[in-house]
Subunit: 338 residues, 4 copies
Amino acid sequence: MIVVMKRSATDADINAMIAHVESKGLKPNVIKGSERTVIAVVGDERIAGLGSLESGPGVDEVLPILAPYKLASRELKTEPTVVQARQMKVGGANIGVMAGPCSVESEEQILASAQAVKAAGATALRGGAFKPRTSPYSFQGMKEEGLKLLAAARDATGLAVVTEVVASEDVDLVSKYADVLQIGARNMQNYRLLEAAGKSPRPVLLKRGPSATVDEWLLAAEYILDAGNPNVMLCERGIRTFETHTRFTLPLASVPYVQAKTHLPVVIDPSHGTGHTHLVTAMARAAVAAGADGLIVEVHPNPDKAMSDGYQSMNFHQFAEMMKQCGRIAAAMDRELG
Amino acid sequence: MIVVMKRSATDADINAMIAHVESKGLKPNVIKGSERTVIAVVGDERIAGLGSLESGPGVDEVLPILAPYKLASRELKTEPTVVQARQMKVGGANIGVMAGPCSVESEEQILASAQAVKAAGATALRGGAFKPRTSPYSFQGMKEEGLKLLAAARDATGLAVVTEVVASEDVDLVSKYADVLQIGARNMQNYRLLEAAGKSPRPVLLKRGPSATVDEWLLAAEYILDAGNPNVMLCERGIRTFETHTRFTLPLASVPYVQAKTHLPVVIDPSHGTGHTHLVTAMARAAVAAGADGLIVEVHPNPDKAMSDGYQSMNFHQFAEMMKQCGRIAAAMDRELG
Amino acid sequence: MIVVMKRSATDADINAMIAHVESKGLKPNVIKGSERTVIAVVGDERIAGLGSLESGPGVDEVLPILAPYKLASRELKTEPTVVQARQMKVGGANIGVMAGPCSVESEEQILASAQAVKAAGATALRGGAFKPRTSPYSFQGMKEEGLKLLAAARDATGLAVVTEVVASEDVDLVSKYADVLQIGARNMQNYRLLEAAGKSPRPVLLKRGPSATVDEWLLAAEYILDAGNPNVMLCERGIRTFETHTRFTLPLASVPYVQAKTHLPVVIDPSHGTGHTHLVTAMARAAVAAGADGLIVEVHPNPDKAMSDGYQSMNFHQFAEMMKQCGRIAAAMDRELG
Amino acid sequence: MIVVMKRSATDADINAMIAHVESKGLKPNVIKGSERTVIAVVGDERIAGLGSLESGPGVDEVLPILAPYKLASRELKTEPTVVQARQMKVGGANIGVMAGPCSVESEEQILASAQAVKAAGATALRGGAFKPRTSPYSFQGMKEEGLKLLAAARDATGLAVVTEVVASEDVDLVSKYADVLQIGARNMQNYRLLEAAGKSPRPVLLKRGPSATVDEWLLAAEYILDAGNPNVMLCERGIRTFETHTRFTLPLASVPYVQAKTHLPVVIDPSHGTGHTHLVTAMARAAVAAGADGLIVEVHPNPDKAMSDGYQSMNFHQFAEMMKQCGRIAAAMDRELG
């Protein structure tokens, strides 16, 4: 890291910082400029116990140099990771497509959804059984009963099942039925849950929190990787900004940026990323063109009767049309959709 | 709520929406303007099963009118709630002050901190035993051993103990030692945890998530209230914005705004809210002047040796000076600090 | 608009509001709900002199219904506007491509750039002669001399010339040399300039300010349209958010959203929208897939020697490759690039 | 600055960067770490013609060290600047108070306002004659006629007059009538206007743009200082964030932060900073407690009849009460209000 001293820093301040850095086994390089002194610290700055250099006397600011994550870093593993769950491949030449309703509501609803999204070319079925809801007065999901319906829909269609897990104590139960564990945006920094998912044999779809920096997101992935699970997909679902015409702002530049920083595949969620059905198809196309390795989309037999998130769900016809358009974009990218 | 129809909406669209609203037991009021039709829906719009009106045909947008929370609302309970934990009162004429280190690190550290903050006028000791850390490579806290040290410091000083709980399965354990359960910003929407805290006999300090809207924050409080615990303190600790010179942006207008919307007391965290020691005192004074009901501040015997958050911790001398200055502001507000 | 009264509003408060609305020639519809009263106001709420209903006694909030712009609205003019400048068409089946250096630096530089971008398929040459620079110590542009070099490059290649105008007093001068007047993000609400551009015979490329809402952006366009110039292109170049890995956050959902609200064509600037050359191609592809009507891209013979914005400029080879890739995406959209 | 090379950078990349830096007369310090090489560049990095180091081969990122402003810097001038206009002093022991309506509407309105705010303790009268309005359909101000009314109100009361100037060509006219030139948030980066204000003999109140970083704001001040006018007041009026319950988010930590970085006084605008009358008093108190050197507040004889910004204006009684409360806070800070 680079420790920038204040212009008013004394020699004693500078020497104290040098001694502190050396006491931790790091090597300080002191550069005296005409206006101020900077101390470049060489070595792994991610060690515990370094303390807070910024609160040292005479320090103006501290600039980190190394990315704080290791296992997720492309510098460590240069070839991209391809995550597979049943027939679905996410990464490489394949763009995986996960589609289905926000919540599992009934056997007919989830089975009809599975058949429709499969017919349109999806490779996985999404659907929530445990629902984290902003309001305690909203529908909270069918829980294990919902998981069973998802598994039945998988058996009927061959689609992989992607579903959310909201607490560490549920990881085993959800792993029993699901092919992919989804960790939602609200739980991106629920470390107990990340560690438990890291011990599951199932791949994990890790959604970005709406105010998480990319470094925080990759550090959350690092918790899962560090616990032993190498199959992590990063899912961008939008950040919170001052924009109000979309529910969140979908920053598609995350796709090429994150792909340069990490070997993990990047999935885009244009449903939550926009919050309005009429914007989803355009953003799904744009995601594919930006190089996304997967899409996750909300599809419901009757969006205007959905028990959650209906305002952003597509109906079957809209989804089939989206897949057709995205397929053309994927072909122009020399990739295969679904 | 108000359903604004598109200019291009047909009579059939409008009639379908009227029928849908009526089928849910709500009363639609149709207002035909020169440019478009709006349908004002009277009744409790927070009912389950209303579905998503926005995805109905011909609908342009839907504007909610009622606040989505009930128990937290000042319309329901007009007199302010005062939360008490041991000698500390938060709300009414009293401004509670919780101070101490980010993490419990050792017996000497926490005891010295407790004595120093008490001497300066604090009414509670804060300190983390279970630490949610952004990186898996950072110090994760002393866990139950840390809780025991906090309890010992309480026994020695009489201060109330405020400490974080990070998972629902830890609530009973933490409640055994602590006087106040803190729910951190990363867990504001960990509903399993909120429900468990709602069943604890201890008051809860609920931090705002860095991208949570005020409505989302109050709905998180609603989970706790709805589970049976009436003693909730709301803690504003900053939101994430484009500003980089502070770690977060501390929006002090939350204080009067939230106090108008809810009866719950509002606590300000100027340490996380700025992220830099040299800004904390000014913001603590400003918080008191804005009408905050409490302060929570990081204080450490040796900030430059702290195992976490040292860059924003005050030393004992700085904290004593802060208390002196804040005491003068509190007096100018006819309130008592500590 | 909808005036939501407080639960505590008295009959006198409600009657006062009704009388005030009627006194302005508008028609109030009073809806008494179980919890509170709302007053729906029918008629054109954009009249001057309505005053501030929100400060009336007993008012909780005021929700606007009509979009504040008229001439820019798609409700007024349903068919999309296609803007033409020389051979370049922006909108409809055509995706216009404007490319060139941030600043005009010399005759060789601008001529070489014009020839290279034309060879790669661009339809317009961009280049700044008057440069608004954040620091007074930065290069401020070649001014009229730069305009002459741009005109010479146009004569040599047939490309349309797009260049920025920074003050109302320069509009005539810039109109003399340029085919399209660019109004930069910093000047989006420089109303004197907008009015002057509205009187120019040249089409205008109006960049969105980095914190402007879409309504504010369309109202800025409204100033130009209202002054008599119907040829306005809206250019999204990124908004300011907490993201720091890109200079700005490029919210591509603006494309379908704005196209639904207005008839004006939408151009995307992936250079400013990301701030890093290595992200530009992916975002240009994504913009085309999202349905953008044009692209504006920074290209420089030697980005590492550019006098401004070199970190986000492409070299000729990178631009040619970008055009090839974007051409494939455009074909998949049944549109023509350039 | 610090140039961080990629882990994959070759020796040739590193040598090329060293040569480039040296060719500009700067001194590179090369530090080879175990993971990557960084090059610390000593000397004034603010020189023109340095080009964009980030686009050099093998470069990962470039971290600036020096603040980009000079004249505004506290490192250059350590004692705080006190700006005086007639009897008003802003800075040092004095907290200047500027109050009045958003727009000058009539002789009675502005005179009554001047008398009322003076009676309550204000030291300057604010009021807009040239109004930059988001919509072309809104009231645009009384222009020179409004300036004359302001001057008349000054003659009657002795208050200094603060009013906005929106274009460089108006600076002389406005300087003729006003004691302080206000540059609004929308014009913070209108460099032509900044330069013109820099040549005026009047002090300048420079509002921060809602998405401007502190560095950009201080660079805007630098334009004025560099043009020869040393009397610049910085006015924080809120930034744009995802918060919607206030019009803008007022980041009061700007006060101590900016005061540490610059010698210029800092004024807070709690009216625009919150956008709602009922929040203004609390934030005015908080601003004084944070250490602000001045306040600027909207006051109108009849806020519900104001031609602009009525929802955030105080009436005379509310302002007098605000002044009383702020006076007590100022006394607790050992400063004088007004």
